[in-house]
Amino acid sequence: MNYPVIVDVTLRHGIADPEGATIERALPALGFTGVTNMRAGKSFRMDIDAESESAALEKAAALAQRLLSNPVIENASARSGAKG
């Protein structure tokens, strides 16, 4: 079976995020106030061939660790990409 999966990659706590900070600084000028703690991250959607959804998620988690994220500065997690 083929399962849609999403891997989310976010910066680890305490790691500086210049991109998020720069976006946040730009917001007031655009009329957006009250937005704080902006953090930029990445996501990857893919279809995974596996026995079950949980097997697909496991595979995605391994992929996330090995290739899609840099564990020194990022956290990664996998979730189902099926429309809820």
Binding site: T22, I23, A26, A29
Partner: protein, 222 residues
């Protein structure tokens, strides 16, 4: 004749653009991005660089700078506007030019000479060149792959809006597109850097024909 070079925080080719224009004997001045008008200028250049660090997307934050409203007004009244590299990205983000620029196909920054073909001379940038002319001009970018949907591409073709193409596509740009213009031809954007090809001492003088065209008396001014 006076050319304005817009400076956003993070721009880094502003001096190069200024020097290139001045080397053609034309007056040029910086315009700080918080300015709300570009009055007194006969042409405006958005230079290369990394405005706002290229954070989010190249040009995404810069296009909201106060000066961009002025640039849009200037453009709609027929003023000559040129976006080079990051400036091209800002113009597409601002909707002043069609399409978008994505990461290079190879996912690395590229600094290398490219050979361009002039596809249309109906623009403020290429009016001094001849159709089919080949020019050696360097590229220096990470996000230079020109992207648009099929309908946009068809209309670019139909309206002769593709101004420059690469002879050997370096970055995965759709249809080898290196530069486009708006329908009227007074707003042009390109990824290669003509201001870096102004003298054989630096490798090529082929950019001169482009910038000389740009700094010529404005369209419809005579």
């Amino acid at each position: 004749m006076k050319i304005g070079v817009v400076v956003f925080p993070g721009s880094n080719c502003e001096y190069d653009a200024l020097n290139a224009v001045q080397s053609l004997g034309v007056e040029a001045e910086f315009i700080w991005h918080t300015n709300t008008d570009v009055e007194g200028f006969d042409g405006v250049i958005l230079p290369g660089g990394f405005a706002h660090g290229d954070y989010l997307r190249p040009g995404a934050i810069a296009r909201f700078s106060p000066v961009m409203e002025a640039v849009a007004r200037f453009a709609s009244s027929g003023g000559a506007v040129l976006g080079i590299c990051n400036g091209f990205q800002v113009l597409t983000e601002a909707g002043l030019l069609p399409g978008a620029l994505q990461k290079n196909a190879g996912l690395t920054f590229l600094c290398q000479p490219t050979t361009l073909v002039v596809e249309s001379t109906a623009s403020v940038l290429t009016r001094g060149a001849t159709k089919g002319q080949e020019l050696v001009v360097p590229i220096n970018h990470f996000s230079g792959a020109y992207t648009c949907d099929d309908a946009t591409l068809a209309s670019l073709e139909a309206n002769d809006q593709i101004v420059l193409r690469y002879t050997q596509n370096p970055n995965g740009s759709r249809d080898d597109i290196a530069g486009v213009r708006n329908v009227e031809g007074n707003v042009v954007g390109l990824m290669p850097h003509p201001e870096r090809a102004m003298s054989t001492l630096l490798g090529s003088a082929d950019g001169r024909v482009l910038l000389e065209g740009f700094v010529r008396a404005p369209v419809g001014a005579h």
